[in-house]
Symmetry: C2
Subunit: 489 residues, 2 copies
């Protein structure tokens, strides 16, 4: 392949090739680097919009070369755009496609970005290896927009292979490990399953907000740099802050409650949360996205619990209807059972579940699935002793508390409670639990200015996505995950 | 006032008072601390929903005591809920309201949270000091939900006073300074203007997303903890990260571009951005909210510029129609001219604006306002030398670049550009500008895997809100602002 001279003219560059092969040389080649040389208003077709009904039509697509297989005068290509793929056929003819054209195309490395012009045609039989199965492209023009350099860390075909196929006893395929994927995340993220996962992640946020905005919540943004490590002091990252020091917020807990003290009544936030916890498990990261909310109520914290419950059912309903195709895409690589839930969510009191819960959190999920056929349930009324210092005690049994956890497939995805809104009781309870009062003084003081009863919760976004799709590691649901051993890329 | 005994019974507590005054004692008092004792399904009325047409109706509201003035047998109260206020009248009668009742109510400190039951009535004349002007409440029941402790740092009346009134030559009012407000932010945030500001802020985010989701963007979340200070190295906060060190991301720039390399095509993020800049001005903070987006394009970066332009017009239109009442509320305290913009945004090339822009950024805004009657315009094609290393040069003049800034009221609120998507050119240009290549290697490598031409921009949320409302300090648009000297509350 020849070198690109990076001229500024936006015309495909002619390549130096034998005169005999040189007809139609304007139909292929490497485009000069795009510096926005011109704007013609060209319209491209998305692969997803191509099907048999458009046979005969000439279309122009921008896509990646997913795979190519060229033998002599004919080449078969798979072009990919996001989660869609289509087959392209390039065949030597006497006017448009020269041998030189085919040779050029054969040498374009996988994953390069190309612009293909072709005629839509119906294949003789259904194409099973591409998402567009009833149409292919007869390639007439083939331009390289941007070429990959060097060897890819793994092929997209390998990275996209179904887990079941890899796990077969006689499987000839080895797995692209999570470690390798994360080391080369930019390539890994191109798989259709990953596009599905992150569209679903975007969808969860969208549904979360849509529901809460419809319930008169407002979106807030609270500081991530804080002056004191306010929630117990452990597991907090320290920052050098000019001549002093500061910390990274472990949650927006105190600030969202302060917004309640400022009469915002119903607030939510979607923001990063930082935990300096040296846990190297499949479900811990040092940075994740928190979906947080807090709400004043009139009489009983179950007013808030009801909203949270409704919120999740809204999210699950929305995923099922709006993201059905993404869910299917993920399942093609990571097969799993559908996520089941009940129109009226199962709620258990902690006492009902206590023996099983403590040591067998996941086992409880299994039991409940068998008995009620749901992957989603709520446990209410945890013992006071196992909850943070700002949790309100049960009015009738001081060993218990007005707190709750939500579970998906047996794992906790939301933790929440009624909070103590009285400064005297808050100080007392903090003291009992050994919390350093000095570090929480501005927080305690907020309640001296009068506060309504309120409750709320915090949700881990990546956990929701992981458990909804039944994936095995939370890192698969974070674009660029962070853990005690990973800061790159 | 007697002490609350915090019993768990959710009945108002009888007070110890003279027998003669003791009729109707069940109609007032301090409620026990709410621990979710019971759930009766009580319905409260919002102040904003009360008007003259409901005269004669008995309603129950939860509100704060904004002000109270009691003389002998009659008391006038203003009750506040978020940005609504209503007058309440409490008058001694022979059956329900005893002298003891009035005395109790008179002693409830301002800003306490109360539940008031009353009969809606038409006042003799329009009430100008409350937002509900054609109705007041004849108070029948008066319960304290949560009482303020100690002296308030300032009264809400003082904190809500119109700037024009304070600035009058013969004004008897002194200003509650921004410093004092921020020191007691939980109280300050209760003003109706602040409720307006933060609902507008929430609205900007909502409109931003609504527009971009309709244009097939997806929402992403990129890491805030990064292994290398990737954008030049200056102004970055360092973190202790287990046994090593890390940094706080100064923008999602590199990561959102990596998502483009992973074929997400159109991405946006709303997330905190951190700058360790020792600037103590009215428009700098060390942490703010970035509205970022990045988009692959077909031919020309103006495809992206058009989307950004349309986005802002959509936001401005949406604010005007959906947040008209909040804008009016803010203006009542901070009077300003309407924000003006054109249906077709004014765009100037840098060269056209060059002399004025460099030293007189704000002056240019004034000139443009006079000539075109717009507070919003775009400047395109900045000199390459003043832009970051990843900016694409102009195809026809290498001293200029495919970069742009957006301005509101003469101040920059968006900065963006076509980015260099070729690794060789990127390395060359980084070297020329003295950027340490080792620190950006994973970023440069992303482009070796093939990347489409792309452009994007980053918007400062608080700046947009500040300039839209013509406020004098960005801290007024951050719930809990952070600057080199402020980490609390």
């Amino acid at each position: 392949m020849t070198q690109c001279d990076k001229s500024t003219a936006a015309k495909p560059q002619k390549l130096n090739r034998k005169a005999a092969e040189n007809y139609g040389s304007e139909n292929y080649g490497k485009l000069p680097l795009n510096k926005s040389q011109e704007r013609t208003g060209v319209q491209r077709t998305r692969i997803i919009d191509i099907n048999a009904s458009r046979a005969g039509e000439t279309v122009s697509i921008r896509a990646r070369v997913h795979t190519s297989r060229v033998t002599g005068k004919i080449g078969f290509f798979v072009f990919r755009h996001q989660d869609s793929t289509i087959q392209g056929v390039l065949q030597v003819d006497e006017k448009v496609v020269s041998k030189g054209f085919v040779k050029f195309a054969a040498n374009v490395p996988d994953e390069s970005i190309v612009i293909i012009e072709g005629v839509v045609s119906k294949p003789n039989e259904e194409i099973k290896s591409t998402t567009v199965s009833d149409a292919e492209l007869q390639i007439k023009k083939f331009y390289v927009v941007h070429e990959t350099l060097g060897r890819l860390p793994f092929s997209l075909e390998d990275a996209s292979r179904c887990e079941e196929e890899i796990n077969k006893e006689d499987s000839q395929f080895s797995r692209v490990t999570l470690e390798t994927r994360l080391n080369h995340r930019v390539v890994d993220l191109r798989t259709t399953a990953n596009h599905g996962i992150f569209r679903i992640q975007s969808g969860v946020c969208q549904l979360f907000r849509e529901f809460l905005l419809s319930k008169s919540f407002i979106e807030i943004h609270t500081p991530k740099i804080v002056g004191a490590s306010s929630e117990g002091g452990a597991n907090v990252f320290a920052i050098k802050y000019f001549k002093g020091s500061a910390y990274l917020a472990q949650s927006p807990q105190l600030y969202k409650q302060m917004c309640i003290c400022s009469d915002f009544e119903r607030v939510f936030e979607i923001a990063p949360v930082f935990r300096a916890e040296d846990s190297n498990t499949h479900r811990h990261m040092t940075e994740f996205v928190g979906l947080d909310l807090e709400m004043a109520f009139e009489e009983h914290y179950h007013e808030v619990l009801d909203i949270l419950d409704e919120l999740f059912v809204f999210i699950f309903d929305g995923l099922k209807t709006r993201f059905a195709s993404e869910i299917e895409t993920v399942k093609r690589q990571y097969p799993s059972t559908n996520f089941e839930y009940l129109p009226k969510t199962l709620r258990l009191d902690f006492k009902e579940a206590v023996q099983l819960l403590r040591d067998h959190e996941r086992f409880l999920g299994k039991l409940i699935k068998e008995k009620y056929n749901t992957d989603f349930y709520i446990i209410d009324k945890f013992p006071l002793a196992v909850r943070p210092f700002y949790t309100m005690q049960d009015p009738y049994d001081k060993n218990y508390s007005n707190s709750y956890d939500f579970f998906m497939r047996g794992q906790e995805i939301l933790s929440g409670a009624q909070r103590i809104h009285d400064p005297t009781l808050l100080e007392e309870h903090a003291k009992e639990l050994g919390v350093d009062l000095r570090s929480i003084q501005p927080y305690v003081d907020s309640f001296k200015r009068g506060a309504p009863p309120h409750a709320g919760g915090g949700i881990g976004l990546e956990r929701v996505v992981m458990l909804y799709l039944n994936l095995d590691d939370i890192r698969r649901c974070s674009l660029f995950p962070r853990d005690p051993k990973r800061l790159e890329p």
